[in-house]
């Protein structure tokens, strides 16, 4: 029925080669995973297969769909995309027409696929299938979260009952539970309709779960290809091995700092605020971000906060760090009681915060050196020598050299910038470092490297971590204790092993069940 065949396919944009010598065959019902680092060309490949190339792109070699080259005629190509191929492009959540409702997007896809009857009913059904409430159909993108938008676009890609689904990072922006739902849906459809799948992901675990064959891209070339068991079980190429070790989070080092007395205590903290962005006369009910949270962190411990989006994790982190203010309740660090923004200056240097996106957390007008040195003003007057010593210590501690200090943020890659963000967090030799989704902006290899570094830093400097994450595998590696949050409350706590082996609360059960199995340790068929 539908086959995709590439033979020595190459693509150049503006003279620069982006893909070279790509060959593979995807038959009906097969599931192929494409893995590689960011920038390897995975997404462009997806677009090339459906003829959605940017301006100035030239191709070499052959690309055939169903034994025919892609139609030249725009209308025929569009029809092909509408009826036969379901396409979910990268960053789909940002690709919605702001003036069209979610339902309108899906209805348009249905119409393009020729399913013109019962649009409303079908739209509602598809929304339910991807785990969304049917009322979403009438809402506009501006009122939806990224996860909801992502799923609407997935529904639009699937609703035309395509023979082939090309999905580029389908789990982006989804929390763990939603991810499981989406994976289940794709699996079901592949089984029931023998739908072919071309899955592009940087997460090897996802590929291992859903696909039967894998190709590995590096810098636009296929460096390894074959059955999943072969590629993941006995990787031949160095790049494949690199991806696998990065994706597999090793067991923690045994060099753990001994856990000491209580460092931070949070007592019954509530945070309520009124939404300000609505027009004047609409009724506003206050948002309860935190609803009576209590916890304590001990010196040298590494605690993780997990939970679905909106559970209050980031709000709690910002209150602890002193950026926001608790409406009720109190916190105590080092015998100093505070409520958030009234964190005394002396204690401010004991707590640091690392933000999720390093491109937003550095002032583009300053050199990274100036940004990293900024927290040093919290120190009491010291000699210049010691301060520059600190800079050296911080920068080398994260694996970079001091000559990068004079550069500006735009000169660095994402993983390097995040390291520098951690260096800035280290500069005051704090006792507690809060990391808010520290790995989310990085790809598989970047994450792996940073994780190793974080563990080493904790051991070397005797740090206490509070990590906010959705990545349960990461949490297992980095945390001594895990707190599960839902709707502003802590619903369960325990060691990672406890939580995953014998979860008590419903949410924890779901999160544990939703975690994807490891790759390479046990062969996954």
């Amino acid at each position: 029925m539908s086959t995709v065949m590439l033979d020595k396919f190459g693509l150049s944009i503006g003279g620069e080669p982006v893909l070279s010598e790509i060959s593979f065959l995807l038959n009906q019902g097969q599931r192929l995973g494409v893995v590689g680092r960011t920038g390897a060309g995975k997404s462009i490949l997806a677009r090339a297969i459906v003829g959605l190339l940017p301006h100035g792109a030239t191709t070499t070699g052959s690309l055939r769909f169903d034994d025919e080259p892609l139609p030249d005629d725009g209308a025929a190509l569009a029809k092909l995309r509408g009826k036969r191929i379901g396409l979910l492009l990268q960053e789909a959540a940002e690709a919605m027409d702001p003036l069209a409702t979610a339902g309108a997007h899906i209805a348009e896809a249905l119409t393009a696929a020729g399913e013109t009857a019962d649009l409303e009913a079908k739209t509602g059904q598809w929304l339910a299938d991807v785990g969304l409430d049917r009322s979403i159909a009438g809402r506009y993108p501006q009122d939806l979260t990224a996860g909801e938008r992502s799923r609407v676009m997935l529904a639009a890609a699937l609703c035309g009952k395509p023979d082939l689904l090309i999905a580029d990072e389908p789990l982006a922006h989804l929390d763990v539970l939603a991810q499981r739902q989406v994976i289940g849906l794709i699996e079901r459809l592949c089984e029931a309709r023998q739908m072919s799948l071309l899955l592009i992901a940087h997460d090897l675990k996802l590929v291992a779960l859903l696909c039967t064959r894998v190709i590995v891209l590096e810098a636009g070339r296929v460096v390894e290809a074959g059955d999943k068991a072969e590629v993941f079980g006995r990787p031949k190429h160095a790049h494949t091995r690199l991806l696998m070790t990065a994706g597999r989070h090793r067991a923690r080092t045994l060099m753990r700092t001994p856990i000491g007395a209580v460092l931070l205590e949070v007592r019954d903290v509530k945070r309520v605020y009124k939404r300000r962005d609505l027009p004047v006369f609409s009724p506003r009910s206050p948002v309860v971000a935190l609803d009576g949270v209590s916890l304590s962190i001990r010196q040298g411990e590494s605690m993780a906060l997990i939970g679905p989006s909106g559970s209050g994790k980031t709000t709690l982190a910002r209150i602890i760090a002193g950026l926001e203010h608790a409406t009720l309740g109190e916190l105590e660090i080092d015998h100093a009681v505070y409520h958030g923004t009234d964190l005394p200056r002396i204690q401010r240097r004991e707590i640091s915060l690392v933000f999720p996106d390093p491109t937003q957390s550095f002032n583009p007008a300053l050199t990274v050196g100036e940004s990293i040195a900024e927290p040093l003003q919290l120190e009491s007057q010291r000699l210049m020598d010691e301060l520059s010593e600190r800079m050296v210590e911080a920068v080398t501690g994260v694996g970079l050299t001091t000559d990068v200090l004079g550069w500006r943020p735009d000169a660095f890659s994402l993983p390097e910038l995040q390291r520098l963000a951690i260096a800035r967090a280290l500069i005051t030799r704090p006792r507690l470092i809060i990391l808010d989704e520290p790995l989310s902006a990085l790809d598989v290899v970047g994450r792996g490297e940073l994780l190793v570094m974080l563990n080493r830093l904790r051991a070397d400097f005797g740090l206490t971590f509070l990590v906010i994450s959705q990545d349960l595998a990461m949490v297992q590696v980095v945390a001594d204790r895990v707190l599960v949050m839902d709707k502003g409350k802590i619903v369960e706590s325990g060691t990672p092993a406890m939580l995953f082996d014998s979860p008590q609360h419903e949410l924890t059960r779901q999160l544990a069940a939703a975690a994807l199995p490891e790759v390479g340790i046990v062969p996954v068929f």
């Binding site: 910002r318 950026l323 957390s361 007008a365 300053l366 800035r424």
Partner: protein
């Protein structure tokens, strides 16, 4: 500011728009400044013997109906255009930026009140206010400076307010607060350097508006009064004898267009250099 300076060197498409605009503006400014100390002929010298001469010979660009040298008139006119709009933009910024700042730091009722004020001013084209001021105090330079200034103030108000809102949301501002940086210092180090390119772009854009407004007001007699010269007055006079000597009319208009284009190019070029999240700031909500 280094980003702005960087723009002087390269842009996306060859020499950056900013560079072209800035250089053109500078050239015209120079011509204007030169006229302070020297013009081919003093503008006040009426030479009734050589009225309405065509370009060439003693008068490079010809003479007007009173025998004045057109080139000198244009040079002085360019100077007037720049001076008037610069003062007007200064007034507008001095009013608009602090108001925008206040709107940002006092959200809620003061924000809305200031917004309403800005809205009211926005509906006041320079013409209206100039007319009213002229009715009250007679036509003159000061009046139109004030009039134009008040009508460009809302643009600065909105740019400042929206720009501050956009910047304060960024993580690096929060990081500065965490690092113990005081409010004032945060503003100085983090907010201002990222707000200034935005304001600078707006300054150039409003200068262009100001020049156009000054010419229009001069044309209807509300601006600079004779014997001082402005491009508007030149065009007003040129209109009356255009059927016999169209050259001054054409030249005056072209000079005006050149100034506006130069300033606009610079403004657009600056906007090109802004990071994405700041580029739309200042557009109508």
């Amino acid at each position: 500011m280094t980003d702005t300076l960087a723009l002087l060197r390269t842009g996306r498409f060859g020499p950056s728009r900013f560079r072209i605009g800035a250089i053109a503006t500078l050239v015209l400014l120079l011509v204007g400044f030169v006229s302070i100390v020297w013009t081919p002929y003093p503008v006040t010298s009426l030479d009734v013997g050589s009225v309405l001469q065509a370009p060439g010979g003693a008068h490079w660009l010809g003479t007007d109906q009173l025998g004045r040298d057109v080139l000198s008139l244009i040079m002085k006119g360019i100077l007037t255009s720049f001076v008037v709009s610069a003062v007007a933009v200064f007034i507008g910024a001095v009013i608009g930026v602090p108001l925008g700042w206040m709107a940002k730091i006092w959200p809620g009722i003061p924000d809305r009140a200031i917004g309403a004020l800005g809205e009211a001013l926005l509906t006041f084209p320079p013409l209206l206010l100039a007319v009213i001021l002229a009715a009250v105090a007679g036509p003159g330079v000061l009046n139109i400076m004030l009039a134009i200034g008040l009508s460009v103030a809302p643009a600065f108000l909105r740019t400042t307010r929206d720009g501050l809102v956009a910047i304060e949301r960024l993580d690096y501002v929060a990081a500065a607060r965490l690092a113990g940086t005081g409010r004032v210092e945060t503003v100085r180090r983090h907010v201002l350097p990222n707000l200034s390119p935005l304001l600078l772009a707006q300054i150039f854009a409003q200068l262009a508006t100001g020049v156009m407004a000054e010419a229009a007001l001069g044309f209807v007699g509300l601006g600079v009064q004779p014997p001082a010269s402005s491009l508007g007055l030149l065009l007003r006079d040129a209109q009356s004898y255009a059927s016999v000597a169209p050259v001054p009319l054409l030249l005056g208009g072209l000079a005006l267009i050149a100034i506006v284009l130069a300033l606009t190019a610079a403004a657009l070029g600056l906007r090109d250099g802004l990071p994405g999240y700041l580029r739309r700031v200042g557009d109508e909500p």
